[in-house]
């Protein structure tokens, strides 16, 4: 193991508490671990398990005095960080210890150029300015693999892609050659192909600079690929830690075992080439016009969905995969006629293209949608019962109160929620439970076809697996037809009977899921699968940067 290695960071009995008096919440409870020089330690756990709070307390970035440390010590190269003066700790931050956050969209200042943001760090910690600073910025950008770094200096964050922004964040973190890099879910917001590139970049830089890394994630695949040691956090405590190989092969704690078993089991509904067609589109197009000038002349189109033909048969699940911006969600919305599109859409034998909102209403009962964000898709000001029964008011207005309640209760039972609690507000439920509520809202109308728009991507691993099981179970019981949109190929593999790979609004590949996963035909699909399942980067030119 790492006994001979020099210890860079050593955390002992660290606790973090928020609030005061009876409302006090212990977010982190007596956590101890260490990081050796050049070592990568992964901190794994569900959202709310206290992993980010642990990392932020190393930087002393918590909202003090609302947060307190009832116990513990954080030794960084023999110096105690917890008792350090604010002025001193500022010298450590961004110089000896740096951090890369999850959200590349918001962690860069949108009003400053990239050059200015990186130079600021160089100026503060190294006093570097003028021409040498500029050269160093270019050098850093080249290191993190930004093409044409000199030309990019004057770019603003919004002119870069998500992956490039995260690269800039890493460049900023590396600017002073830190001893410890904290990466707080740096790839969660990125596409799988970009994720693979970023992980590779982090790994390469680490070996080159010999720095230590504290990697926070909920994705066990990444841990296995990247980390030397792993700390599993649950409810503020580290329940297990040890070398990656040992923890993955012989987990000791039941929670670790549960986490490792949480991979969604692949058991998709079989393709049914004989079953009646539920949804059929032919050369479906969703083009958004680009208007320029005073007269708003149409100068071109953004082709969100460009000539996609889909055929979904009863009882099947069509998995739609692709990177963000590939038109997956737009395709789903167009099929449900929630945005305007060109090209015929046939739903259960009826051509519904060009129908007005009112004409669509009778069909809405049979086609439903579940959205990605369990926090945004439920009205925060309506009780769960009101949310679920809303569709009944529209489609079966002659039901009486008792019948409506019965339907709501039945739908809640179907998705495995306690119908007693139906008068509560959505915010009293966890993310997974909210997603079940959204599903109940769709199910209460007893639809034939449900568009599932990334219903699991905002959920923790354990909950994800539960959700997949639930969806599969419902499909079997009710003979539902799904269109499952996701960028998470493992979840898609667990559910999809047929697969549609989209890129830039066009179909790259289509076919039975089992065969496609085994033998992808196009380079793009192969790259996508490699990135998702093995976290491998693709040769240049196949995927976006």
């Amino acid at each position: 193991m790492t006994g001979a290695r020099e210890t860079v960071l050593s955390i002992r009995d660290l606790s973090v508490a928020f609030g005061q008096g009876p409302g006090e919440v212990l977010a982190v409870d007596k956590v101890s671990f260490y990081i050796g020089k050049g070592e990568t330690v992964a901190l794994v756990g569900e959202s709310g398990s206290g992993k980010s709070v642990t990392a932020l307390s190393v930087m002393k970035l918590l909202p003090y005095p609302a947060a307190r440390h009832p116990s513990g010590s954080i030794l960084f190269k023999g110096r105690e960080l917890l008792s350090m003066e604010e002025r001193e700790i500022r010298r450590v931050r961004g110089n000896d210890i740096t951090i890369v956050f999850q959200e590349p969209m918001t962690s860069l200042n949108p009003l400053h150029t990239i050059e200015k943001q990186i130079r600021e760090i160089l100026l503060i910690h190294q006093g570097l300015a003028g021409e040498p600073a500029r050269a160093r910025v270019i050098d850093l950008l080249a290191q993190v693999g930004i093409p044409d770094p000199e030309g990019r200096l004057a770019s603003y964050p919004h002119q870069l892609s998500g992956g490039q922004r995260q690269r800039v964040m890493i460049a900023m973190a590396l600017a002073n050659e830190p001893d410890l890099l904290i990466a707080d879910e740096p790839t969660t917001a990125l596409d799988v192909t970009v994720q693979a590139q970023i992980l590779k970049l982090l790994k390469d830089t680490q070996t080159r600079l010999g720095m230590s890394m504290l990697f926070i994630t909920h994705d066990l695949g990444i841990v296995r690929k990247l980390a030397d040691r792993i700390c599993v956090m649950h409810a503020g405590k580290i329940v297990e830690q040890g070398p990656v190989e040992r923890v993955f092969t012989a987990p000791e704690h039941p929670y670790t075992r549960a986490l490792l078993a949480a991979e969604p089991k692949p058991d998709p509904a079989p393709p049914r080439p004989q079953a009646p067609v539920v949804v059929k589109t032919d050369d479906l197009k969703v083009w958004f016009p680009i208007k320029r000038g005073v007269l708003r002349k149409v100068v071109g189109h953004i082709k969100a969905v460009d000539g996609v033909s889909v055929e979904i048969r009863k009882g099947e699940t069509l998995g739609v995969v692709g990177e963000s911006g590939s038109g997956k969600t737009t395709l789903g919305l167009a099929i449900l006629r929630l945005i305007s599109s060109q090209g015929p859409v046939v739903f259960m034998g009826h051509a519904i293209q060009g129908f007005k909102f009112k004409e669509m209403r009778p069909y809405r009962r049979d086609m439903q949608i579940v959205f990605q964000d369990p926090y945004g898709s439920l009205s925060p000001r309506m009780s769960v019962s009101d949310i679920i029964e809303e569709g009944l008011w529209v489609h079966q207005p002659n039901l009486n109160a008792a019948e409506r309640t019965q339907r709501v209760v039945a739908a809640l039972k179907d998705v495995g929620l306690d119908p007693q609690a139906r008068f509560r507000y959505p915010h009293e439920y966890s993310g997974g439970q909210r997603q079940r509520i959204a599903l109940a809202r769709a199910l209460v109308l007893e639809p034939t076809f449900i568009v599932l728009d990334e219903p699991t991507s905002a959920l923790d691993m354990l909950i994800q697996a539960q959700m997949v099981d639930l969806l599969r179970d419902l499909q079997k019981r009710r003979d539902l037809t799904y269109m499952f949109i996701s960028h998470d190929l493992r979840v898609v593999a667990a559910l999809a009977s047929r697969l549609l790979v989209l890129r830039n609004g066009k179909v790259v590949e289509e076919g039975a899921a089992a065969e496609l996963f085994k033998a992808p035909q196009s380079d793009y699909t192969r790259a996508l699968f490699a990135a998702a399942f093995k976290l491998e980067t693709a040769p240049e030119g196949v995927v976006a940067q």
């Binding site: 649950h234 078993a261 949608i369 009780s383 809303e390 529209v394 309640t405 306690d418 109308l445 539960q466």
Partner: protein, 396 residues
């Protein structure tokens, strides 16, 4: 083993077995959501007590005619009963025989002759606690107007009254807060003034909120040209210096309760528009609005059920301020003399009298404290209401 371990860490509510059904009748009689809001409201002790104090004051002031009036509540004479506080009687109604001193005009119950007559005939008279209305002139003052609150009179004041031909201290009517420079009882005017201020404020708030929310909703929901034109109009409208315009209009029109309401409404409706519009613009792209569209819910229902409740909480946070500013605007106009017609009871007029008569601090102090307390109560209530409507707020 795996399945077992997974169950152990599954979400708690998922594992609890579905219980039996609640009785279905509760659904409509109890409304648990509003009950919870009420509970949350009660948890804010300051707001809760402010509500009760304010309601008590308001309800009392609604019955001002029975508390401060120059007409008795009830007279029983010659076997008939009369309610002078509500009905106007000719003075001849109280006399058994024809009396040369009574002319059949509206009875003046502060007239010693009439009251003596009723007493002589053995009539029972029930007076309100304060025997002045807002426009009753005190007939026997101890000093020139404005005169001190009666309990503040010193021996020296009594001597002054006796030597200068004013009423002697022994035969004074009681003025709890003194009289103003028109010789009217300040407490009576305060009660009536409070009532008219609150009623005016409530009317203005309700009407301007309805107009403002509707305008904001239309702009936010439809967007585009509607929004653009409306916004430019509002920008021009709000750049008009409203107080000067109010002064001009109120000097042209004969000011009265409803005329003032209309004039103030011209400008007060704008305050909520931006807020509601922003909420609608934000809200119409939420996923749950999309979900409602996917359910086939119509536009009107989406506006009222999904978007308006969101906008209402933002509106709620502003309502106490709009209410207090409505009261303030009326007070300001009255203070400047452009408000309610002369003689009407009003807090602004009381303040301006306080300013004009610095030697009579009971005028200014009464005005100041009544307005300060009223506005504070309103703000406390508003804060508590706002918190109660916030579903994310937790009280610990």
């Amino acid at each position: 083993m795996d399945a077992k371990a997974r169950e152990d860490f599954a979400e708690a509510a998922v594992d609890t077995p579905a219980g039996s059904l609640q009785p279905l009748i509760f659904r409509f009689t109890l409304s648990p959501l509003n009950k919870r809001r009420w509970e949350n409201f009660k948890l804010n002790r300051r707001g809760y007590w402010s509500l009760w104090i304010f309601l008590a004051l308001f309800v009392i002031s609604l019955f001002a005619e029975f508390i401060a009036n120059d007409k008795p509540i009830y007279i029983n004479v010659n076997g008939h009963w009369y309610v002078p506080a509500l009905v106007t009687y000719p003075d001849t109604a109280f006399a058994k025989d024809k009396d040369p001193n009574l002319f059949g005009t509206a009875a003046d119950y502060r007239d010693d002759y009439l009251m003596g007559l009723i007493k002589k005939e053995g009539g029972a008279v029930l007076w309100p606690p304060i025997r002045f209305s807002y426009n009753t002139q005190v007939s026997k003052p101890p000093s020139p107007f404005p005169s001190k609150p009666t309990w503040m009179l010193t021996q020296k004041d009594c001597e002054f009254a006796a030597t200068h031909g004013f009423a002697k201290c022994g035969e004074l009517e009681y003025n709890w807060l003194g009289t103003d420079d028109g010789g009217r009882d300040v407490l009576a005017r305060l009660i009536y003034g409070f009532r008219i201020s609150v009623l005016f404020g409530l009317c203005l708030t309700i009407v301007s909120s309805v107009v403002g929310v509707a305008a904001g909703a239309v702009q936010g929901y439809f967007g585009g040209w509607t929004d653009l034109l409306f916004q430019r109009f509002i920008e021009i409208w709000t750049s008009i210096p409203s107080l000067y315009l109010l002064l001009i209009i109120s000097s042209v029109l004969v000011p009265g309760f409803f005329v003032l309401l209309g004039i103030l409404l011209l400008f007060s409706w704008v305050s909520l528009v931006g807020l509601v519009r922003a909420e609608f613009l934000r809200g119409r792209n939420f996923e749950y609005i999309q979900a409602a569209r996917a359910l086939g819910v119509s536009n009107a229902v989406i506006i009222f059920r999904h978007l308006l409740p969101n906008a209402m909480v933002a509106t709620m946070t502003f309502l106490p301020f709009i209410l207090s500013s409505s009261v303030m605007t009326l007070t300001a106009l009255d203070f400047l003399g452009f408000g309610l017609p002369p003689g009407s009871p009003s807090l602004g007029e009381l303040l301006s009298q306080g300013k004009a008569n610095v030697q009579a601090p009971w005028l200014g102090l009464t005005g100041f404290f009544s307005i300060a307390i009223m506005l504070s109560l309103l703000i406390f209530i508003g804060e508590a209401v706002r918190d109660a409507f916030d579903p994310r707020k937790t009280f610990r």
